[in-house]
Structures are given as structure tokens and as C-alpha cells.
Symmetry: C2
């Protein structure tokens, strides 16, 4: 009576990758409702709500895939689950207003454990002025599964998509890159040490910054506000959840353009570089392919260069080109390296 | 380094139950955004979208908890995942317009298997004129997890909540009750037979109706349309996902009222009664506590009695009372039985 493998063909999911799979599953779908403005293919879906546009983002967080409770405090996890969705809405130049939280848990978890998780959710809701408007809690056979839906809004004239960059536009990024991934490597290392010898205390001293970047990312809502105040409207925008390389390729490919990024312009914190060196990793690799920075990556007209430079914490790291010129990282020595999406493909990691 | 059980207290999730847990986790949360109209505690959240109200529902479907792939075709599962959310929106007197689908799968599943699932999702989207606007696909350590968010809309003057019934209102239900649960019992029985002897063919002949009610529920969007055409505005409404008893208690408790339901008014299909008798179950128990019927349960002013009776497929099964009169089922013989929520508590089932 099994129904799931009766088809003679079997194509492995890993052969398509996460983005390939979504494209495959949703290809050819047409929208029929006139309120549907934008479907699959950006940080959030866009629905016409009359005076404003409504933004809807959705994220799934699975134990064992997206987080490891060995070193992730539940309160931090709750905070992060909200934060990454607030970031998705911000990446459309919008403001998150409501969230719905779906949680599946096994009986391994106590009410007190869920209280901790919700304490983090509440903290993030307070901080980002988001109302929790829906909660669905159900049991799971094993593990913890979190599904967050965020609702946001943006004025019709202000929405920013990822496929609207123009040739010669500046490529800009907020904050610094690669730190969250270095935090993850440290936590994974200490976990292995702990597994080998439970008497050992974790050696995480002096690495607060990269650990916090991993465990408690802050969505860059402030960047959206600063850009607006400075009168800069990004031509395209995306938040960095899968690594700079992956995200700039989304902007470039979806806009039908190429890009150049300059290695010596990449903002990398000294702690990130230090941890990278411990792991014998090139800090540039950490910055390009480390995921979960949740910084804003955007393109802007070259005429906005001075305005952007005047905003502290924003960095111009390259520019868009014709599609024919391809997607390249220019090394400090002037060599060209093709930019390829790698790093944070959760689909590939597990399978 | 484990973080999940460091609290000295441990309260089991099962001690609160699903609804108790949601109440516990979300209690005391205040809404700060003026667009937030209704938060936790109805079929869908309600957000002010200017001219209309926007409705957002969210459902989680987990393999091994909400469905069993031994007897659930993936195409049916995809259809049902959309259908139950369309039903949630309809229960607010609204029309579903968009959905977002989040799927987590292990590498046990092939691309072809997900194609089947999406074929069902597409079929339901076409049928209910819902646009798929977001897709998130990620890997899971094991099993299939589906998270659906549905967006809908309703005119401001037409929304119907579950907490707005009035004393003496009629209690009405569409279709018939208990069939989906009988379908589930049949499928579970045949699964056990098959496990004991894989050579045995499943004996499901002649039970198409109850099987279809379980595997391919149809949201009663037609009921919403018929009520509107007849000029009837329900005073309160909810869809029946957890069984009539559980749902009428939501309406009664949330409205601060009591209720009387008459056993001999309960609409029960002959096939439901037949299967119930095979399982030595009282058909009334199936109707009261069997879940997943996805019929509409609503209250209406007594003056609408004639209009309601004139609509085929609607049944008046009781009336609301003062809270002090309690919640009772009146048996065919005139005895009073207290109505208690039982049946479909997925939290209790697994744990």
C-alpha cells in the first residue's frame, strides 16, 4: 500500500539543489488573483492591500538541519526565528508588523523549554514592534520544528525587489561579513571536544562577537531607516542569509546582469579573520560563502555614492555589469575569480 | 553544554493539551501595531489592509502525526494541505487568495514524489482560485513536514469571528459529520492487516465516501457563497477540524454562552453509520468527536431559520443558551450529556 515510491523514475532531491527544486516545483504556475503582485522568487511574497503592499515571508527552522540545541539556547533560537523573518521583510524595504509562529515539538521538550523559546520570540517581537497574531503548536515524532510567517507592509512606491538592479549600479553591503559562519565553526568545534571529553569546558573566551553573530543575529532594520532618511532608494535588495556569493548571484541573474566584487572592499571583522586563520580558512571565503550574516546587500545608482559613503556601516564593494561580463571577484592582486554559489545550501549539507 | 533541560522544573506538554499550551505560550501578549485586528484565537489572524481585512491562517502537517504515507497518496496530501487552509479562511467568511508552502523532506523522497505532492497543491490552487506565492523547501533529518500559510480577504463589514454568537442563536452545520474519522479507522485497519500479511489486498470496496472524506476533504467555500446569496450573516463561525464537540465549545466558551445540541438532528451519512457499527462505535460519537470533517459550523439569528432550512445541505442542530445552562447534547431519549472536547487532540495522541 505504500504510495510514495510507486513512480518508476527516481530523481534525487540533491541533484536539483534547494533553489533548483523550488524553481522546478513552482514553474509554470500562474497567478489569477489581481491582488497577487509578486509570487515565488524574492525575500517575501507581495500582495496588493489597497493603499499599501503587504509582504509575507516564511521560514522553516528544523532541529538537526538549521540549528543544534547542543549549543543553541532556546531563547536565542526564538529570537533568531523572528529576526530572520524581520530581515526578509526589511530586504523588500518594508516593515514587519505581525508574525505567526508554528511549532512542532516532541515530548522530549517540557513546557519550561517552550517558555524559553517563547521568551526569545517575545523579546524579538518587542524589539522590532511585531505583533504575534497566530500560534499553532503540535506534536512531532521527534525534534523541534519552527515555522514562522511574517507579515509586513511597504508603501507602493517604495518596494524594492531583487531583480531590478541596473548596469553600472554600485553594490553595497551593511556591517561585516563571515562572522556568523565563524561562530558556527567555533561552536561545532567545541561540541566535538565536549563529545570526546565531557569534562572539558568549552573554550569560547574572547569570541563574543562571532558567537553573537551566529546565535543572535540582528536584522538590519536600521539600514532601511538610514537609507530612507538619506533619500537613497536601493535599485535592488536582498538580505544575506546564504552568503554574499549566493545573494549577489540572485540579484545579478534575476536582473539579467553581471557583477564585479572587489576583495579588498569586503568588510571583515578582525575576530572573523582571527577565527578563520585558526581554521586555516581564507577570510574572503568566509565573507563570500559564510551564511547567516543577515546583512543587507543592495544596489544603488552611482550618483548615490557620496550619500552612501556618508552613512556609517555601509560599504561599497563592487558594481553591476553587463550580463556578458560574468560574475567575478577581483582579488587584491587584480586576478578575476568566478563567483559561484556555495556555502549555505542546507539541502546539500544534509543529503 | 545541553541547553534544553537546564531548568529545574519540568512540566510535561501533555499536561496542558494543545489549546492550553497555545494559551499558555501566548498569554499576556499585547498587540502594538494598529493594523493588528485579531491575534491568536480564531481560524485565522486578521490584519487591517485598508479597504479590506486580510486573513492569515497557518497549518502544520507532519508525517507520523497528521498523516500516514502508507495510505495517503502524496497528491491527495498536497490537495488536503491547501484545502484545510482554504477552509480556515472560509470560516472567517473570507475568500482565500494566496498561499505559501513550506516543505521539509528527507532524502527518502525523490523529486518525482514531490512532483506528486505539488500536483495536488496545484489542483487545489486551481480549484479554489488561490495563487501560490511562496515556496520554501528544505531538507529534514527524517520525514515530511508541510507548513502552509494562506492569505485571504474579506470586506470589513462581513467578517465573522467565533466569539460573537448570541444567546438563543441557532446552531447550524453543513454537510454531514463523522465520515472522515470513519475513513481514517478503515485505512488504519487495512494498514494493520497489510502489516500482518503483505499478500492481503486492502478491503475498502464500497466505502468510497468515507475514504474520500478522509483523504480529499473539500472546504465548504460553497456554503459561504450560499449564505451570502441568501442574505444570512452567521453570528459566529468555525470550521470543523477537531470534531463538532471541540468546535462548538470554542464558539460557546469564547462567546460566553452555553449550548444545546440535539442528537437526532445530527447529520450522519449512512456509510458513516455502517462503518461505525463495524467498529462498534456509536455514530453520534463519530459525529461529535471525529475530526477533519471540514464542514462549517455556525450560529445564526433565529429569524433566519426559514432561510437556512431552504438551503440544501444545511442543518439546524441546536441553539445557544446562557452560560449557566452549560453545554449539553440532548439524546434522542431526552437525556442530557455534557459536551466535552475530546477526539482530535494531536498533542494527546502522540504523547
Amino acid at each position: 500500500m505504500s504510495t510514495e515510491d510507486t513512480t518508476p523514475m527516481r530523481t534525487e532531491l540533491s541533484s536539483l539543489g534547494e533553489f533548483g527544486l523550488i524553481d522546478h516545483l513552482t514553474s509554470g504556475m500562474k497567478s489569477g488573483n489581481k491582488s497577487t503582485i509578486k509570487g515565488v522568487g524574492d525575500d517575501a511574497a507581495v500582495v496588493d492591500a489597497g493603499k499599501k503592499l503587504m509582504l509575507i515571508s516564511k521560514d522553516l527552522l528544523l532541529e538537526g538541519v538549521h540549528f543544534d540545541l547542543t549549543y543553541t539556547p532556546l531563547k536565542h533560537l526564538g529570537y533568531k526565528a523572528v529576526a530572520v523573518n524581520v530581515s526578509d521583510i526589511a530586504a523588500m524595504n518594508g516593515k514587519a508588523t505581525q508574525i505567526l509562529v508554528g511549532i512542532s515539538v516532541s515530548n522530549r521538550f517540557s513546557v519550561e523549554a517552550l517558555d524559553e523559546l517563547y521568551a526569545g520570540i517575545r523579546l524579538a517581537c518587542d524589539r522590532f514592534k511585531v505583533d504575534l497574531v497566530g500560534g499553532d503548536t503540535t506534536s512531532s515524532v521527534s525534534g523541534l520544528f519552527i515555522s514562522i510567517t511574517a507579515i509586513g507592509e511597504v508603501d507602493k512606491g517604495k518596494i524594492v525587489y531583487r531583480n531590478t538592479a541596473h548596469n553600472t549600479d554600485l553594490i553595497c553591503v551593511s556591517g561585516d561579513l563571515g562572522a556568523a559562519y565563524m561562530g558556527l565553526l567555533l561552536l561545532e568545534r567545541e561540541k566535538q571536544v565536549f563529545k570526546a571529553n565531557p569534562q572539558m569546558q568549552p573554550d569560547l573566551e574572547g569570541f563574543d562577537y562571532v558567537l553573537e553573530r551566529q546565535l543572535k543575529p540582528e536584522p538590519r532594520v536600521d539600514v532601511i531607516v538610514k537609507l530612507s532618511e538619506a533619500g537613497i532608494r536601493p535599485t535592488a535588495m536582498i538580505d544575506i542569509s546564504d552568503g554574499l556569493a549566493s545573494e549577489i548571484l540572485h540579484i545579478a541573474n534575476d536582473s539579467g546582469l553581471g557583477c564585479r566584487i572587489y576583495e579588498n572592499k569586503l568588510p571583515i571583522d578582525v575576530q572573523t579573520a582571527e577565527v578563520a586563520s585558526q581554521f586555516k580558512l581564507d577570510p574572503t571565503t568566509a565573507a563570500m560563502n559564510g551564511g547567516e550574516d543577515y546583512e543587507m546587500l543592495f544596489t544603488a545608482n552611482v550618483n548615490d555614492f557620496e550619500k552612501i559613503k556618508s552613512i556609517s556601516g555601509l560599504h561599497v564593494i563592487g558594481h553591476m555589469t553587463d550580463k556578458e561580463e560574468g560574475n567575478y571577484l577581483i582579488s587584491a592582486g587584480g586576478s578575476l575569480y568566478p563567483i559561484e554559489a556555495q556555502g549555505f545550501n542546507h539541502m546539500r549539507e544534509v543529503e
